[in-house]
């Protein structure tokens, strides 16, 4: 940090404050260390280190002496990455989750936004009940939600056999959207609560004037509320995109309901099946590429929405 003590324009007060701060920091070094050490050590061990190990593993390749010789790991440079880029199943799975995300994320967030706005408007009675009803599915783990919906989609056991005996939700054409429905069911309420909390934080004086001018609730929502809660919506969008690319539990469960979900259905399923072959080096390379892809995409969304807000 640069200190401007030499600059004559700096007000005296600021200088003393800065100096005091500096001494305080040195004095409390022990306390600061006590506060940050536990988290930092664990973060290093279980976030940073695994990423480094994955990168390292992805640069190795297994060599055997002869066909049945002892396998040894040797440095292979970007051999695994070359395989990743030639792996059609991997890119097909990426394309599949992207298709999924392009449709599912807007529907889910649109519904979450609509419900949050309705809960925040004077149009609805019984808000407490609805808030809890919509949020309840979030308490259902993805695996359990997938098991439940597996029964609900079943042509024989479903309460809606009138529909499910006609339409095969678990067939190759629809299973992706059947999974999208499970994810939507679980996460609408969660996103709704985040958006709703942001709406509650808006002081109501801001739209008092609009209300007195006779603006409708829809108009107030569109012109005043939505622009003010853009940061919350961006946050939910980024978490949703990350979630989409990481899709695993739901399709993994659906594998036992239908053969339409293969072991390369989503990138993480592919990583899991590659790792259990076992080909950990290739699986590590898949992981690294997927992580970079996820990071790049959420970063792009962040930048895009920030630019739009300016």
């Amino acid at each position: 940090m640069t200190t401007d003590i030499a600059t004559p324009a700096t007000p005296k007060k600021a200088v003393t404050k800065k100096v005091r701060r500096a001494t305080k920091a040195t004095k409390n070094r022990g306390a600061v260390l006590f506060f940050i050490a536990p988290f930092s050590v664990l973060f290093l061990l279980f976030y940073i280190l695994p990423i480094l190990v994955a990168i390292y593993q992805s640069l190795l390749t297994v060599e055997r002496e002869g066909t049945f010789g002892k396998p040894t790991e040797v440095f292979g440079g970007f051999v695994q990455y070359a395989r990743v880029f030639q792996d059609d199943a991997f890119w097909a799975s990426i394309l599949r989750v992207l298709t999924f995300g392009v449709v599912q994320v807007p529907i889910m967030l649109g519904l979450a936004l609509l419900l949050a706005l309705l809960l925040d408007s004077p149009l609805v009675r019984g808000k407490r009940f609805f808030r809890l009803a919509f949020f309840a599915p979030y308490a259902v783990p993805g695996v359990i939600a997938a098991v439940m919906w597996g029964f609900l989609y079943s042509p024989k056991l479903s309460p809606f056999t009138a529909i499910t005996s006609e339409i095969n939700f678990l067939g190759a054409d629809l299973v992706l959207w059947a999974i999208a429905n499970v994810v939507t069911w679980v996460f609408v309420g969660y996103n709704m609560i985040i958006i709703y909390s942001a709406l509650l934080a808006i002081p109501s004086e801001i739209y008092e004037a609009a209300r007195l001018d006779g603006a409708s609730q829809a108009r107030i929502a569109w012109s005043i509320k939505i622009p003010l809660i853009t940061p919350a919506i961006t946050l939910t969008a980024i978490f949703s995109i990350i979630g989409t690319l990481q899709l695993l539990a739901e399709p993994q469960v659906f594998k036992s309901f239908t053969s339409a979900v293969t072991s390369t259905f989503t990138p993480n399923l592919l990583i899991y099946s590659t790792a259990s072959v076992p080909n950990v080096n290739l699986a590590a390379a898949f992981s690294v590429v997927l992580a970079l892809f996820t990071f790049a995409l959420s970063f792009t969304v962040l930048k895009f929405t920030q630019r739009k807000a300016d």
Partner: protein
Amino acid sequence: MSATTTPVKKHNGPRESLFSRAGAMLVMAICTFYFLVPIWWLFVAATKDRADFTTSAPLWFADFNLIENIGNLAAYRDGVFFRWMLNSVLYAGAGAAIATLFATMMGYALAKYSFRGRETLFNVVLGGVLVPATALALPLFLVFSQVGATNTFWSVFLPSIVSPFGVYLARIYATSSVPDELVEAARIDGSGEVRTFFTVATRLMTPAMVTIFLFQFVTIWNNFFLPLIMLRDEKLFPVTLGLYIWNSQVSQIPEIRAYVIIGALLSIIPLIIAFLSLQRFWRSGLGTGAIK
């Protein structure tokens, strides 16, 4: 179901038309149906015996056998299901508690002390928020297999006590709700820094801490990829992994289906209780995270 009416605060202004009120309530009703019917179905299905499950109306009760079903589940394979529940409670309860403590300490330090590298540290942690748990499962497996510690309690427990999102939330919350003056006053009274944190700061940060605890609890409870990839020993399974394995065996062992359903119901009850009882806290805590 009788809806509890909250007092409507924003009542000054023109009354909304009946048409838009009716439209809004219709949307709410349809969504309530969509969100609650699957849970209702699960509850009803869990009360039926095997014959009724396939023959009676799926959305209404036949003979009420919930208690018998739970009894059968407890007897099945020496009650391994309840062992899984206990494991989940341990992984999620103890894990979330420790994660909350460490994240709060870290967030507090980032908010209330200036030290070299503070912003860098915070940005690295923020980067961690963008790395989802599933993406780390395989890398964690590689780390634990290096030290031969896969298939242990710790291989699932230790990674879940790190919550970057918790640090983010704690920092924002500490900045806005723990006044510098108060920390300073405690200092003048001769309270040590650590004591000030535990006696003054944690009290003011309770809403944020409850939020961090709950969301970390849910994250761990729902975590699936990490135990799936780490654990082989059935005795260490969390309930999600156990039920997943059972569900994938339904076609070979048909009677297991009843256990999957009753187990699924029992596995969501702790989370529903946690959310209902603590909602006053987590809603205000979440609000802080979303505004900034």
